[in-house]
Amino acid sequence: MNAAVETRTFEVRSDELAAIDSWVERVAARWGESERTVFRTRICIAELAGNVLEYGIPRSGDDHIVVTLRHFRDGIGVEFLDSCGPFDPTGATAAANAGTIESLRPDGRGLLLVRAYAQDIAYCHDGARNRVTLKINSA
Protein backbone atom coordinates (compact mmCIF):
# COMPACT_ATOMS: atom_id res chain seq x y z
CA MET A 1 0.00 0.00 0.00
CA ASN A 2 1.31 3.46 -0.91
CA ALA A 3 2.12 5.86 1.90
CA ALA A 4 -0.10 8.89 2.33
CA VAL A 5 1.74 11.97 1.11
CA GLU A 6 1.24 15.66 1.78
CA THR A 7 3.35 18.46 0.30
CA ARG A 8 3.29 22.17 0.86
CA THR A 9 5.43 25.10 -0.27
CA PHE A 10 6.36 27.98 2.02
CA GLU A 11 8.26 31.22 1.60
CA VAL A 12 11.62 31.68 3.33
CA ARG A 13 10.47 34.14 5.97
CA SER A 14 10.54 33.96 9.74
CA ASP A 15 6.81 34.53 9.94
CA GLU A 16 6.26 31.42 7.80
CA LEU A 17 7.71 29.17 10.51
CA ALA A 18 4.48 29.20 12.48
CA ALA A 19 2.58 28.23 9.33
CA ILE A 20 4.99 25.36 8.67
CA ASP A 21 4.66 24.13 12.24
CA SER A 22 0.87 24.35 12.26
CA TRP A 23 0.66 22.44 8.99
CA VAL A 24 3.05 19.70 10.14
CA GLU A 25 1.18 19.32 13.43
CA ARG A 26 -2.18 19.15 11.67
CA VAL A 27 -1.11 16.60 9.06
CA ALA A 28 0.78 14.32 11.47
CA ALA A 29 -2.06 14.39 13.99
CA ARG A 30 -4.61 13.62 11.27
CA TRP A 31 -2.61 10.51 10.44
CA GLY A 32 -3.17 9.32 14.00
CA GLU A 33 0.44 9.48 15.13
CA SER A 34 1.12 9.81 18.86
CA GLU A 35 1.66 13.19 20.44
CA ARG A 36 5.33 12.30 20.92
CA THR A 37 5.84 11.40 17.25
CA VAL A 38 4.04 14.53 16.11
CA PHE A 39 6.14 16.63 18.48
CA ARG A 40 9.39 15.09 17.29
CA THR A 41 8.41 15.66 13.67
CA ARG A 42 7.63 19.30 14.46
CA ILE A 43 10.99 19.71 16.22
CA CYS A 44 12.98 18.26 13.30
CA ILE A 45 11.22 20.40 10.73
CA ALA A 46 11.44 23.54 12.90
CA GLU A 47 15.19 22.99 13.19
CA LEU A 48 15.63 22.50 9.44
CA ALA A 49 13.54 25.60 8.69
CA GLY A 50 15.38 27.59 11.35
CA ASN A 51 18.69 26.61 9.74
CA VAL A 52 17.50 27.90 6.38
CA LEU A 53 16.52 31.22 7.91
CA GLU A 54 19.69 31.54 9.92
CA TYR A 55 22.31 30.16 7.55
CA GLY A 56 20.64 29.94 4.15
CA ILE A 57 22.20 32.04 1.43
CA PRO A 58 19.37 33.73 -0.48
CA ARG A 59 19.59 33.17 -4.23
CA SER A 60 16.56 35.10 -5.34
CA GLY A 61 13.68 37.12 -4.00
CA ASP A 62 11.41 34.12 -4.19
CA ASP A 63 13.36 31.45 -2.35
CA HIS A 64 11.10 28.80 -0.97
CA ILE A 65 10.86 25.75 1.24
CA VAL A 66 8.99 22.64 0.16
CA VAL A 67 8.06 20.13 2.86
CA THR A 68 6.77 16.68 2.00
CA LEU A 69 5.46 14.34 4.68
CA ARG A 70 4.94 10.64 4.04
CA HIS A 71 2.98 8.47 6.41
CA PHE A 72 4.51 5.04 6.79
CA ARG A 73 3.27 2.12 8.85
CA ASP A 74 6.02 2.82 11.38
CA GLY A 75 6.52 6.55 11.26
CA ILE A 76 6.72 9.73 9.24
CA GLY A 77 9.11 10.38 6.39
CA VAL A 78 10.20 13.95 5.76
CA GLU A 79 11.64 15.51 2.63
CA PHE A 80 12.73 19.10 3.18
CA LEU A 81 13.78 21.17 0.18
CA ASP A 82 14.99 24.75 0.08
CA SER A 83 16.14 26.87 -2.80
CA CYS A 84 18.83 28.82 -0.94
CA GLY A 85 22.53 28.35 -1.66
CA PRO A 86 24.12 24.98 -0.90
CA PHE A 87 24.23 24.29 2.83
CA ASP A 88 24.48 20.91 4.51
CA PRO A 89 22.88 21.15 7.96
CA THR A 90 23.87 17.56 8.70
CA GLY A 91 27.53 18.48 8.30
CA ALA A 92 27.49 21.09 11.04
CA THR A 93 29.00 20.39 14.42
CA ALA A 94 26.52 19.47 17.11
CA ALA A 95 27.08 20.76 20.62
CA ALA A 96 29.36 18.48 22.62
CA ASN A 97 28.73 17.47 26.20
CA ALA A 98 29.92 20.22 28.51
CA GLY A 99 31.71 19.67 31.78
CA THR A 100 30.73 22.97 33.33
CA ILE A 101 28.17 25.65 32.70
CA GLU A 102 31.01 27.93 31.64
CA SER A 103 31.88 25.54 28.81
CA LEU A 104 28.24 24.92 27.86
CA ARG A 105 27.73 26.13 24.28
CA PRO A 106 24.49 27.95 23.50
CA ASP A 107 24.58 26.76 19.87
CA GLY A 108 24.55 23.39 18.14
CA ARG A 109 21.54 21.96 20.00
CA GLY A 110 19.30 21.81 16.93
CA LEU A 111 21.41 19.21 15.16
CA LEU A 112 21.64 17.28 18.41
CA LEU A 113 17.83 17.12 18.56
CA VAL A 114 17.44 16.13 14.91
CA ARG A 115 20.01 13.36 15.29
CA ALA A 116 18.28 12.13 18.43
CA TYR A 117 14.74 12.19 17.06
CA ALA A 118 15.23 11.16 13.43
CA GLN A 119 16.77 8.26 11.56
CA ASP A 120 18.11 7.86 8.04
CA ILE A 121 19.17 11.50 7.83
CA ALA A 122 20.59 12.38 4.42
CA TYR A 123 21.53 15.54 2.57
CA CYS A 124 22.25 16.36 -1.05
CA HIS A 125 22.20 19.39 -3.29
CA ASP A 126 20.58 18.69 -6.62
CA GLY A 127 22.05 21.73 -8.36
CA ALA A 128 19.07 23.89 -7.57
CA ARG A 129 17.90 22.96 -4.09
CA ASN A 130 19.13 21.60 -0.79
CA ARG A 131 17.40 18.33 -0.01
CA VAL A 132 17.29 16.78 3.45
CA THR A 133 15.45 13.55 4.06
CA LEU A 134 14.85 11.85 7.37
CA LYS A 135 12.40 9.60 9.14
CA ILE A 136 10.77 9.87 12.54
CA ASN A 137 9.84 6.48 13.85
CA SER A 138 6.50 6.10 15.61
CA ALA A 139 6.97 6.44 19.36
Partner: protein, 116 residues
Protein backbone atom coordinates in the same frame (compact mmCIF):
# COMPACT_ATOMS: atom_id res chain seq x y z
CA UNK B 1 4.73 33.77 23.49
CA UNK B 2 3.51 35.64 26.56
CA UNK B 3 5.97 36.59 29.25
CA UNK B 4 5.30 37.70 32.82
CA UNK B 5 7.97 38.76 35.28
CA UNK B 6 7.46 38.63 39.03
CA UNK B 7 9.30 38.11 42.28
CA UNK B 8 9.91 34.63 43.67
CA UNK B 9 9.97 34.85 47.47
CA UNK B 10 12.88 37.27 47.47
CA UNK B 11 15.05 34.43 46.18
CA UNK B 12 14.84 34.92 42.46
CA UNK B 13 13.22 36.64 39.53
CA UNK B 14 10.37 34.50 38.26
CA UNK B 15 9.69 34.54 34.54
CA UNK B 16 6.51 32.84 33.39
CA UNK B 17 6.39 31.84 29.74
CA UNK B 18 3.28 30.78 27.86
CA UNK B 19 3.31 29.62 24.25
CA UNK B 20 5.89 28.39 21.78
CA UNK B 21 9.57 29.03 22.43
CA UNK B 22 10.39 28.98 18.72
CA UNK B 23 12.04 31.72 16.67
CA UNK B 24 9.19 34.16 17.25
CA UNK B 25 8.98 33.22 20.92
CA UNK B 26 12.72 33.60 21.34
CA UNK B 27 12.51 37.12 19.93
CA UNK B 28 9.88 37.94 22.54
CA UNK B 29 11.89 36.63 25.49
CA UNK B 30 15.28 37.88 24.28
CA UNK B 31 15.35 41.29 25.95
CA UNK B 32 13.46 40.45 29.18
CA UNK B 33 15.59 37.35 29.72
CA UNK B 34 18.83 39.21 28.99
CA UNK B 35 17.80 41.99 31.36
CA UNK B 36 16.89 39.58 34.16
CA UNK B 37 20.03 37.49 33.74
CA UNK B 38 22.16 40.63 33.52
CA UNK B 39 21.17 41.34 37.13
CA UNK B 40 23.00 38.09 37.96
CA UNK B 41 20.38 36.92 40.40
CA UNK B 42 18.68 33.59 40.48
CA UNK B 43 15.96 33.06 37.89
CA UNK B 44 13.03 30.66 38.00
CA UNK B 45 11.45 30.14 34.61
CA UNK B 46 7.93 28.78 34.88
CA UNK B 47 7.70 26.50 31.84
CA UNK B 48 4.26 24.96 32.52
CA UNK B 49 2.70 26.94 29.68
CA UNK B 50 5.44 26.30 27.13
CA UNK B 51 4.09 23.79 24.61
CA UNK B 52 6.99 23.79 22.14
CA UNK B 53 10.69 24.58 22.31
CA UNK B 54 13.21 24.73 19.48
CA UNK B 55 16.98 25.10 19.69
CA UNK B 56 16.76 28.87 19.39
CA UNK B 57 14.74 28.91 22.60
CA UNK B 58 17.29 26.61 24.22
CA UNK B 59 20.04 29.01 23.14
CA UNK B 60 18.39 31.87 25.07
CA UNK B 61 17.98 29.70 28.17
CA UNK B 62 21.66 28.68 28.05
CA UNK B 63 22.88 32.25 27.58
CA UNK B 64 20.75 33.39 30.52
CA UNK B 65 21.95 30.52 32.71
CA UNK B 66 25.59 31.30 31.91
CA UNK B 67 25.07 34.99 32.78
CA UNK B 68 23.38 34.10 36.07
CA UNK B 69 26.14 31.60 36.89
CA UNK B 70 28.74 34.34 36.56
CA UNK B 71 27.14 35.85 39.65
CA UNK B 72 27.05 32.45 41.36
CA UNK B 73 23.31 32.21 40.79
CA UNK B 74 21.16 29.53 39.24
CA UNK B 75 18.54 29.38 36.53
CA UNK B 76 15.86 26.84 37.38
CA UNK B 77 13.23 25.48 35.00
CA UNK B 78 9.88 24.94 36.68
CA UNK B 79 7.71 22.04 35.56
CA UNK B 80 8.06 21.83 31.78
CA UNK B 81 5.73 19.35 30.07
CA UNK B 82 7.02 15.81 29.44
CA UNK B 83 7.63 16.57 25.74
CA UNK B 84 9.48 19.83 26.46
CA UNK B 85 11.42 18.07 29.24
CA UNK B 86 12.48 15.43 26.72
CA UNK B 87 13.85 18.17 24.45
CA UNK B 88 15.75 19.80 27.32
CA UNK B 89 17.25 16.50 28.44
CA UNK B 90 18.09 15.40 24.90
CA UNK B 91 19.82 18.75 24.35
CA UNK B 92 21.94 18.07 27.44
CA UNK B 93 20.66 20.97 29.51
CA UNK B 94 19.43 19.23 32.62
CA UNK B 95 22.90 18.91 34.13
CA UNK B 96 23.26 22.69 34.20
CA UNK B 97 19.73 24.06 34.25
CA UNK B 98 17.93 22.18 37.02
CA UNK B 99 14.43 21.00 36.13
CA UNK B 100 12.11 21.05 39.15
CA UNK B 101 8.51 19.99 39.50
CA UNK B 102 7.28 22.38 42.18
CA UNK B 103 8.00 25.79 43.66
CA UNK B 104 9.12 24.06 46.88
CA UNK B 105 11.67 22.11 44.88
CA UNK B 106 12.81 25.35 43.23
CA UNK B 107 13.29 26.95 46.67
CA UNK B 108 15.38 23.98 47.78
CA UNK B 109 17.60 24.18 44.70
CA UNK B 110 18.07 27.92 45.13
CA UNK B 111 18.77 27.52 48.85
CA UNK B 112 21.41 24.96 47.95
CA UNK B 113 22.96 27.40 45.50
CA UNK B 114 23.01 30.12 48.15
CA UNK B 115 24.73 27.90 50.71
CA UNK B 116 27.25 26.42 48.25
Amino acid sequence: MKITISEFDGLATKITLVGKLDIAGAETVDLPLATASGARRNIVIDMVGVDFIASIGIRHLVMAAKAVARGAGKLVLLDPSPLVTDVLVTAGLDDFLPIVRSEDEARAVLAGAASA
